[in-house]
């Protein structure tokens, strides 16, 4: 069961080496663009612009998994948008174009976020959060939740196997029955998560967590030449795409 794959994979690539703060600038700028535009062609262009990052970051396989799952969701996004817009406007052409735009927007967002998370280690992200003056506890919580995603996914798989072995058939029944069938899966999952959280807390305390107000940051991130170049390139492409509308009236 692989849905969106945002799980960081360690590789050595130029994109992996770029400071998370620089990549954060990219993430924010391009998210703004995606939300700002509703022209399908320009949205598609923004989507394409995220591909070089994926290629340079050597995370195409994982990215494909995300995009494939996104394509599955698009069917719903398209249908619901179409019905909604057609209902309120009554214009067939307008509804189709806008629904297509919404679908591409979704894909573009998934692509940008995948490119970011697949190439940024949660720990580096945490460190940059700390250096951006976000309290360590919040940064750590975020880091931990990323770290334990694969563990939880594996646990979910075991629980599903265990209950299927006891004759649970998830595929059968109407929606209400199906929802009820997830109870035997969710209860152990939630209880185990609490238990795990408790064990992790014990382990952290045993490693002197909270000992000193002045926690040392052994690993610090420093912005280098390549990071500034990356930020500049991000801004240039941001303004280039933005100018399409501002100066040329496209979109």
């Amino acid at each position: 069961m692989r849905v969106f794959s945002f799980q960081y994979t360690r590789k050595s690539s130029i994109i992996h080496k770029i400071d998370p703060r620089a990549k954060l600038v990219y993430l924010i700028l391009f998210t703004i663009l995606v939300v700002y535009y509703s022209n399908p062609i320009i949205l598609f262009l923004i989507f394409l612009s995220s591909i070089p990052m994926v290629v340079l970051g050597k995370v195409i396989d994982r990215w494909k998994i995300s995009i494939r799952s996104a394509l599955f969701f698009i069917i719903f996004i398209f249908i619901f948008n179409f019905i909604g817009i057609f209902w309120s406007t009554g214009s067939l052409e307008y509804s189709i174009i806008l629904s297509i735009a919404m679908s591409i927007r979704f894909i573009a967002l998934i692509s940008i976020f995948s490119a970011f998370f697949l190439t940024t280690s949660p720990e580096d992200l945490m460190q940059s959060m700390v250096q951006l003056k976000i309290p360590y506890e919040y940064a750590l919580t975020f880091n931990m939740s990323m770290r334990f995603v694969p563990t939880l996914t594996r646990e979910l798989q075991i629980i599903m196997d265990a209950q299927k072995s006891r004759g649970l058939e998830l595929e059968r029944g109407n929606i209400l029955q199906k929802v009820r069938k997830y109870i035997p899966i969710l209860v152990p999952l939630i209880i185990n998560s609490f238990r795990r959280a408790e064990m992790i807390a014990d382990a952290m305390e045993s490693r002197a967590f909270g000992a000193s107000k002045e926690r040392t940051s052994f690993y610090t991130l420093t912005m280098g030449r390549k990071d500034y170049i990356f930020i500049i390139v991000s801004f240039i492409s941001f303004f280039a795409i933005l100018s399409l509308k501002l100066f040329f009236g496209i979109g």
Binding site: E155, I159, D161, K164, S165, G167, L168, P184, P188, N192
Partner: protein
């Protein structure tokens, strides 16, 4: 009755977790699958109740090709008890926990009641019937997970690491229980790396390593082969170790045999 023929399976294309598995298990047998972590033991047994389907070769269980029947249909014949009971216990009471599978398999209400009561008595859990499963001790939870599978009377029972975290008495009770079910005609398969448990209680064993079966035979043969065990991330049972130290040939896993041989050595007969 269980037959693996040239079975291969991989989660990631090209990296086979089990390779060329050929295996035959008769009705009423009791056997252990041994091997280090990551040897492919759990992947292998998941093929028996159809949770995984072979990518090459086939698995036949009670005459059914696992590719052609649903997990639910196989699961009724093949009870799989997972290692950690916390991965499956969810109900409000011990009684409801046992009833879960019975309801899923569509047993009539009177039978659900009688079977639940019978198995809870059989596994000494009846006094807890209205308690929450989460308040039980570790050993009791393991028994409950077993009860929740045994209740629907599968003809094959598979236990994944049933002895981890169990103390000696609990292990001995488990062995007794398995023996009892085996005598009732059930086929029992245990996945484990507990060599001493296998040496004491299980007559046949299979050793897996890197996804392949590297040895299959009677425990008193396989478990006495020191080099084979060491090469596959296992250790010798202590009795065998003693035999090696004293150059007793052939070595044995049977206490009485080793005892009489050591006595003979002491009397100067050997």
């Amino acid at each position: 009755m269980i037959e693996f023929k040239g079975v291969y399976f991989s989660y990631v294309p090209g990296e086979y977790v089990i390779k060329n598995i050929n295996l035959f298990i008769n009705r009423g047998e009791i056997l252990a699958i041994l091997g280090g972590n990551g040897a492919g033991k759990t992947t292998l047994v998941k093929h028996i109740n159809g949770l995984l389907k072979p990518q090459l070769g086939y698995v036949k269980v009670l005459g059914m090709n696992t590719k052609e029947v649903s997990v639910a249909k196989l699961a009724k014949q093949v009870g799989l008890v997972f290692q950690n009971p916390d991965h499956q216990l969810f109900a409000e009471t011990v009684e409801k926990e046992v009833m879960f599978a019975l309801i899923n398999f569509g047993f009539p209400p009177e039978e659900i009641k009688s079977r639940t009561e019978k198995i809870l008595r059989g596994l000494d859990l009846i006094e807890y019937k209205d308690r929450s499963p989460f308040t039980l001790s570790g050993g009791e939870k393991k028994r409950l997970a077993l009860a929740a599978v045994l209740c629907y009377d599968p003809s094959i029972i598979i236990l994944d690491e049933p002895t981890t975290g169990q103390d000696y008495n609990q292990k001995r009770n488990l062995a007794k229980l398995l023996k009892r079910f085996n005598e009732e005609g059930k086929t029992i398969i245990i996945v484990t790396h507990d060599i001493e448990f296998v040496a004491d209680f299980i007559p046949r064993c299979i050793i897996m390593s890197n996804g392949e079966i590297v040895a299959d035979g009677p425990s008193d043969d396989i478990l006495t082969r020191g080099e084979l065990l060491m090469a596959n991330k296992l250790l010798m049972p202590q009795l065998v170790e003693i035999c090696y130290e004293l150059s007793i040939n052939p070595p044995s896993i049977k206490f009485d045999v080793v005892l009489s041989k050591v006595r003979a050595i002491m009397k100067g007969e050997i």
